[in-house]
Symmetry: C2
Subunit: 355 residues, 2 copies
């Protein structure tokens, strides 16, 4: 696409055109040419949406609960964008409003935009694609953005970190709790929900969760608000312990998504958490940590791309490896030689900056 066409796309998205939004997210997913400029152009228009991440094991009832939450926000007059990161999703682009049958209630409602993103095949990393899609929804003016993802590993943890508030769903009596501890999900939850609260064992699961969160609190709660890259979180740890009264105590709620019971309480807890973040200045901390993590991720990806391109210019890594295997050169000399102009360029700029 030309720069003019890109500018027109951005304008239409900012005007709330759902097709421009769908097209933008497709470009983000496919990293198609010029997508970076599009995201850059949108960036200044972001920051107004309230972003909620919803995660939990498969079968915990995430989709149904998200549907109910969307309905709640709509009844309240708010517009909602949903990014559903689904490992089994057949949608890899082009899927727009109503791309999931279960969101049938939202079909025809311009105040809702639902988009499935496949967890597979993201060259630039799933978390980057998700973060950019959230920005597109934010810039398009949605009041709420919901990111739904299966809580199954680091990838998903990275994904929900794009949210201001992370809601963790737990299924009663499934031994889910221990598994979640392993995956580090307990650490990133701001609000916990025991869904299917009408099932046997729900009260027990609620009690277990509260006990674990209590234990976490007893360890200094250093991980609360842990967002963004690990290094960044570590740097922030001291600040966060400065004022113990500012700590957020993650509530454990009960819902029955199929009937809508407890959904209003969940929406209330999400708003409480958002208000807490704003009042304590942590909303800004999270934004900064997120930005730092995004910058690092992008730089890593971009330099990896540069290096791969440079290797291809030299006939591919195999050709270079052949010369190393023949002892004509060695890996360090290859790396130094490849990166010398890079180092020189950075040094030159440094000299210019100093001058």
């Amino acid at each position: 696409m030309t720069a003019d066409a890109d500018r027109a796309l951005v304008e239409r998205l900012l005007d709330g055109d759902p097709r421009a939004l769908a097209r933008t997210i497709s470009r983000v997913e496919n990293r198609s040419e010029g997508y970076r400029d599009v995201v850059s152009a949108l960036y200044g228009h972001t920051g107004d949406a309230s972003v909620v991440g919803v995660t939990g094991s498969p079968g915990a009832g995430k989709s149904t609960l998200v549907d109910e939450l969307v309905g709640y926000y709509r009844d309240d007059g708010e517009t909602v964008g949903v990014i559903a990161v689904d490992p089994s999703s057949p949608y890899t682009g082009g899927a727009v409003l109503g791309d999931r049958v279960r969101m049938g209630s939202a079909v025809g409602d311009e105040g809702v935009f639902v988009r499935s993103m496949s967890a597979r095949g993201h060259l630039g990393g799933l978390s980057t694609a998700t973060a950019d899609a959230v920005k597109a929804l934010d810039a398009a003016g949605f009041d709420r953005v919901v990111v739904e993802t299966v809580g199954a590993g680091q990838n998903e943890v990275d994904v929900v970190r794009t949210a201001d508030t992370v809601v963790v769903l737990v299924q009663p009596g499934s031994g889910d709790d221990v598994q979640m501890l392993k995956a580090g999900i307990l650490e990133i939850g701001d609000v916990f929900v025991v869904n299917k609260a009408d099932l046997d064992g729900a009260a027990r699961t609620v009690a277990d969760l509260r006990e674990m969160l209590e234990l976490r609190g007893g360890e200094g709660r250093t991980r609360v608000g842990h967002h963004g890259a690990v290094g960044v979180a570590d740097e922030r740890r001291d600040d966060e312990n400065e004022d113990e009264d500012d700590e957020w105590s993650p509530p454990v709620l009960e819902t029955v998504a199929t009937t809508g019971d407890g959904v209003a309480d969940l929406a209330g807890a999400v708003d409480d958490h958002r208000d807490h973040l704003r009042q304590t200045g942590r909303m800004r901390d999270r934004a900064r940590s997120r930005a730092a993590a995004e910058i690092r991720t992008l730089l890593r990806q971009d330099t990896a791309d540069l290096v791969e391109a440079e290797l291809r210019r030299r006939g591919g890594v195999e050709a270079v490896a052949e010369r190393v295997a023949d002892r004509e050169t060695d890996p360090y000399t290859v790396a130094d030689d490849l990166l010398a102009p890079v180092q020189a360029a950075l040094d030159r700029r440094q000299a210019d900056d100093d001058a």
Copy 2:
């Protein structure tokens, strides 16, 4: 160190001075200044040693078996260097000949050099440090190099990939087999050894292993000879299937390391495998794949270092993230801005090369 001192160190190492060798490995481990030039200088003197990797679960008897193997080679008049990668090792540098009590038989024997390397704290990655240490032993003229590591994950898999021949130790009847399958150890074994073959269940374990290897064979045996980076192995897959007769069938041997039973057979199998690699041209394939993996790993590390240094020049990622959080800029603009001179430098070189 000065370049002159480095050259002197390299000369002494090539002359077989064990202190120069110990010092070189310490510099590799600590990535101390100038170590890259030292490794580069050694590279042209490598390729003569026969490198054996020995891996297996804790308690499988690796250390005892390696001791016996070293004794066997010494009795045969060969010199042996040992790199023991030990996650619990307190040695992080300076440990030389006889640094492990159990190698008592080798103390005072100049034909043996033993070095423990800690699995922790390697800035540049354990596999890089191990590969460089192996090169140092190779350049120092040892006939055999043994790399011993706990077979516990990707780190260790990368480590044993520095070897020409990978020996996998299994303990009888421990359910070890299934665990190994998970860790991908079965795929990288060239020779399997059921150690403690005098224990109950040894015959059963041997049979299980043979069955699993048979199954692997039935799937086309595409993974045999799988060394180096995964991408590289994929590229080589077609070549490897071209001639089924060239396939190596990993033998399953039985040893009792504590008595030395079976150690001669093990040494024989290692040599058979080495001969096989040479005759089929696969020794060269492995060397090339290894070189490709080393180049990629180094480039990744080096570019990450460059990026971090550049971020520090700009006041650290936090300062940049602050500006992004304020919407003064965005992650893509930051990344583009940081890497623009790099891209320009690479383009300029390309133009020069074309001219």
